[in-house]
Symmetry: C2
Subunit: 112 residues, 2 copies
DNA sequence: TTCCCTGCGTTTTGTTTTGGAACTTATTGC
DNA sequence: GCAATAAGTTCCAAAACAAAACGCAGGGAA
């Protein structure tokens, strides 16, 4: 089965994952919960490539998890802010944060 | 940044996602929470290829989320059961289930 | 007015991962 | 011997990805 066919799965968990279950999307949400909203902020913080970031942001906007908002008209600049729908996933990330702290100690020092 | 470098990230969410944040792993956990434990059960329920399933199960065992257990010695058969560590992610899946029910209605009928 | 800078992406070029299907191994039952 | 079952493994083409360069619209400095 292809990943893209998951959005109409009978299982609500599967449908949720069809939006946020890929490699980088939940990391974007993490940054959004931390208050980040600009393309460059996401790019730097998460370490993902700009290519992938652009694609994921577009998808999250299409799905109504983020909203693309003009915050400067000249030059035109957009940022990405959480919708109510997006906010409602915050508790899931909190659980993952606690789980990571408890079960996934850092083995070697990472820079930043 | 490569996905594999995430396991030593400063952020506990990122470290958690380095284990369960890929396309299919959380679907395996969903099935485990529903009581499934055998390779064939996971394969059929999730619709993922056996190839990927085998890889993900191996990783989950390595990370201590599942335990590989001999349940038949002749012929040798193994199944996969949740550890305490694995159980502790259940609440995150529950949030995703509720979110999916609320925000991701099924658009067309999918077969099982 | 020529040049560099910032913010936000897009394109290009290889590498890695994935999907799909067939194959393997060990054992039981017919 | 022959099919069935369970748990993987192997192969190849297709898709996704990483890294880095490029594009573009304005701003500011020289």
């Amino acid at each position: 089965m292809k990943w893209s066919e998951l959005s109409d799965n009978w299982c609500p968990v599967a449908r949720t994952l069809s939006v946020v279950g890929d490699r980088w999307t939940l990391l974007i949400l993490r940054d959004a919960y931390l208050g980040k909203s600009k393309f460059e902020e996401f790019a730097e913080s998460s370490g993902m490539t700009r290519h992938i970031l652009a694609e994921r942001l577009k998808r999250l906007v299409e799905e109504g998890v983020l909203e693309r908002r003009l915050y400067s008209s000249a030059p035109k600049r957009y940022n990405y802010v959480l919708t109510d729908k997006g906010e409602e996933l915050r508790p899931a990330l909190r659980i993952m944060k606690d789980w990571g702290k408890k079960h996934m100690p850092v083995r070697r020092e990472a820079k930043a």
